[in-house]
Subunit: 235 residues, 2 copies
């Protein structure tokens, strides 16, 4: 852990490309970042390892892990044994709420972030939601974030008793994956440390065919680059 | 478990007097009730036992337990080793946010309820918050509940994709403790099964002096009755 100065902020960190970029943006904004990651029975522990590596690489003042039990009542390809769709085109990805949707996931994650913010005296929460690639997720849309922020400002002792304002920052919300990667590279994010694949092999290598893999491979390709995860696999 | 017919509803059930009454009200409204209880490192396991007894007594179609880790970052007399205030008068109880406040607790609980509602296809969530006795808790106020409901209606596949409306029911929100008990008795709630004390003794008997004990003892007294928990202790 590092001990950066600055206003404290909570940054939700999954270990993926988007949340890594979001953490770099929060750091660049001068925040003392407190990363928060969730172990919710993901099938792939490689995602949790990625969150640890990114927090260390970019630098956080603290990294809070929360174990939560979505499996008890959730239905999702990310936690249950549902087949991950492969080789879908952009239209197929956009047309429906993906099978990988976890009920109320961002609501739950942001609620924990709100509690953590109150405890450490932070009034800024960063979340790397994106309404472009994940247009089918209700809880990735700007109107959801706005409503959550309004609720958060009525929910806690800091906002109600002490008159502070809680801000939910979504720097990536209307960016394309290409824009996200471009900004992250400017800020020095090492995307070789991230993990996005819904269906990695036994040693954590990406499948290259699920929606998450395809979106990042295409974005790096548009930038004339190779996804470092794929490059390292074939090296 | 029973198998009541009717529209499914999620009922948050702590094991206290308020949530027991709320469950009875939801049943009386004709709902097939799915109780949801949280194990968040409460110091007093008697509270968890009370939730089980009440669910069985009033009748639920399912009882979902969720283990959550508030202790990791929470500061509260309910989970930490903070002295529980005793022998406070009504003014003292009302004047400040109590030491027993858990950061963002109702936000987190309602977020889990929202996920559970989506999974079982429910559009009704019941929570026994009360703005009279707990005026110092930001997340017990009507404006918080209204904001949570607005957010919930933007958060899930059911509300966004399928056009359903989620309703957060707070039947007790402006009732006095006396009104709550009166309604519960009409509905046959056995308050001897509930647990409210913040500081029970080793076998679970109430201390009779913390805010929670005093509020219920006074309310039963106003009704010319003895709190059945106190009666059973001294019998």
């Amino acid at each position: 852990m590092t001990t950066h100065q600055g206003q404290p902020a909570i940054v939700l960190l999954s270990g993926g490309l988007d949340s890594a970029t979001t953490l770099a943006i929060a750091r660049d904004a001068g925040h003392a970042c407190h990363a928060m990651s969730f172990d919710y029975g993901q099938r792939h522990r490689v995602e949790l390892d990625a969150a640890r590596r990114i927090a260390e690489s970019i630098g956080v003042n603290a990294h809070q892990w929360v174990t939560i039990d979505l499996r008890a009542f959730g239905r999702s390809a990310l936690t249950d044994e549902i087949t991950v769709p492969k080789d879908r085109d952009a239209t197929q990805m956009a047309e429906a709420i993906p099978v990988t949707y976890v009920p109320a996931r961002n609501t739950i994650f942001l609620s924990y972030a709100l509690a953590y913010a109150e405890v450490i005296g932070a009034t800024d929460i960063y979340i790397g939601v994106n309404a472009v690639d994940y247009s089918g997720y209700p809880d990735c849309r700007p109107q959801f974030i706005t409503a959550f922020q309004a609720m958060a400002n009525l929910a806690t002792r800091a906002t109600v008793g002490d008159g502070q304002r809680m801000t939910i920052h979504t720097p990536l919300i209307d960016w394309t994956k290409r824009q996200i990667i471009t900004r992250g590279l400017e800020l020095g994010v090492d995307y070789g440390l991230t993990h996005s694949c819904y269906d990695p092999d036994a040693v954590g290598h990406p499948c290259e065919r699920c929606d998450a893999c395809q979106l990042r491979i295409m974005a790096f390709s548009e930038l004339g680059m190779k996804d470092p995860l794929i490059a390292s696999q074939t090296a």
